[in-house]
Amino acid sequence: MNPQLILPFSVEISFGVIAALLATASFTSIGLVHSRPERNYTELRLRIKTWWLIVAVFAVAVLFNRAISVIVLGFVSFLAFKEYLSLIPTRRADHRVLFWAYLAIPMQFYWVYIAWYGLFIIFIPVFMFLILPTRMVLVGETQGFLRALGTLHWGLMITVFSLSHMAYLLVLPPEVNPAGGAMGLLIYLVFLTEINDVAQYIWGKSFGRRKISPKVSPNKTVAGFLGGVTTTMLLAVALGPYLTPLTQLEALGAGVLIGLGGFVGDVTISALKRDIGVKDSGSILPGHGGILDRLDSLTYTAPLFFHFVYFLHY
């Protein structure tokens, strides 16, 4: 029998809680539509509906077996990288170079699948870093070379290397984490990162006045940031024993890391969008925008949290 079919109790509870939270959001929004018909809640309704879809995809990614996890998360990386390339200026001459960059995605996720940590951790930062310019030089177009190379490798790092850490959390030896099993760490990371986003938004809307980074992200406030980080810290400590091998103090550290990292990931993608002059990174997720609009925080929290846990326990 497939061992992952017997889910740890904490994992079952986690998905129960997520479903309950979303159901509450759905009912609240339906209630709002009825009690205040004069206001338009289409965007909110769309946003919550898409959340259900995201949770469903995440459940598929987490709950079955390693092959399905790696394929689903690899596909998410592919969508993010494709969205990034569609957003930024690319040179026509680099057509074949872009193709090579895409090939890095199945390879990177294959290293995850066979749990080859050494290659997983250097493949994109070292080998792709050397291979892409080599291929570009073979094309021979020097105009805009540095910009094309820099933007391409940065995108690969953010959308493939960073996000593939989510998948690697699933292949870490499960016996180290008896409470959460193989998927506990990933659920912990993704749940806290998304809650951190939502908490920063709610704290900011309720109490925020002083802008934290007016030029990049005018909606971000000091109160939202501090409130969000505090909420994430408290939840990190509360959930730590059920999903992770972290001690109380370590869980507090993980909460701070996810709170800070989530914020930086968010504003980094905002800065990118501002530079290009778009509001959303795409339109694949109705009510949210593009896939990068949803994954922005995870591009920072995934590698940060992974290496924090890896250093302490694996």
Binding site: F78, L79, K82, E83, L85, S86, L87, I88, P89, T90, R91, R92, A93, H95, R96, L98, F99, Y102, G144, R147, A148, I276, G277, V278, G282, S283, I284
Partner: protein, 212 residues
Amino acid sequence: MLRKLFYLFISKPLALVILGINARGREHLPLQGPAIIVANHNSHLDALALMSLFPLAVIDKVHPVAAADYFLRNRIIKWFALNVIGIIPLERKATEKGADVLAPVFDALDKKAILILFPEGSRGEPESLSRFKNGIAHLALECPEVPVIPMFFYGLGKALPKGEFILVPFFVDVFIGAPMRWEGSRSEFMRQLNQKMLALQEQANITDASDL
């Protein structure tokens, strides 16, 4: 049958998984013939991406109009173009004096087809819009009751430009304009059509570094 299989196993997965198509103005997409769709032409993928927008039930009605000299040039391509893609071949040069090159097109419209035309002629430079040729005005003059729907595609010229055979995934934006009808004069019709296409193009976020 072949066309439906091709649609289900090639066009649709390509459009949904490899590329990803964001259509704006989908309500203008004609689901009943006769109708004429005019689009910019940047890639061999244009026709496939366009057909993927339609539901399976009407796919048999959708036919790209394509150059006979190019697509009928050998037996394999001819079989594929006629039976799998379902093109209506058009002679670019009249073979005999007085012969109406557009006759097969009129026939198809009589049978309530939804035709896809690329009035730029051949695939242009990626993502740039060349002026439309006049054939389309002639068609509108002869069939004034048939709606003409302008569409602008952005991204396909990056995914598979002319002269390349390796496909690189990119998101594709499609902007579908409101239907137009014959306006009483050729030049006026062409002016409005070109203007509409430019307006659709302006909605796209063009990020081809070679154009900067």
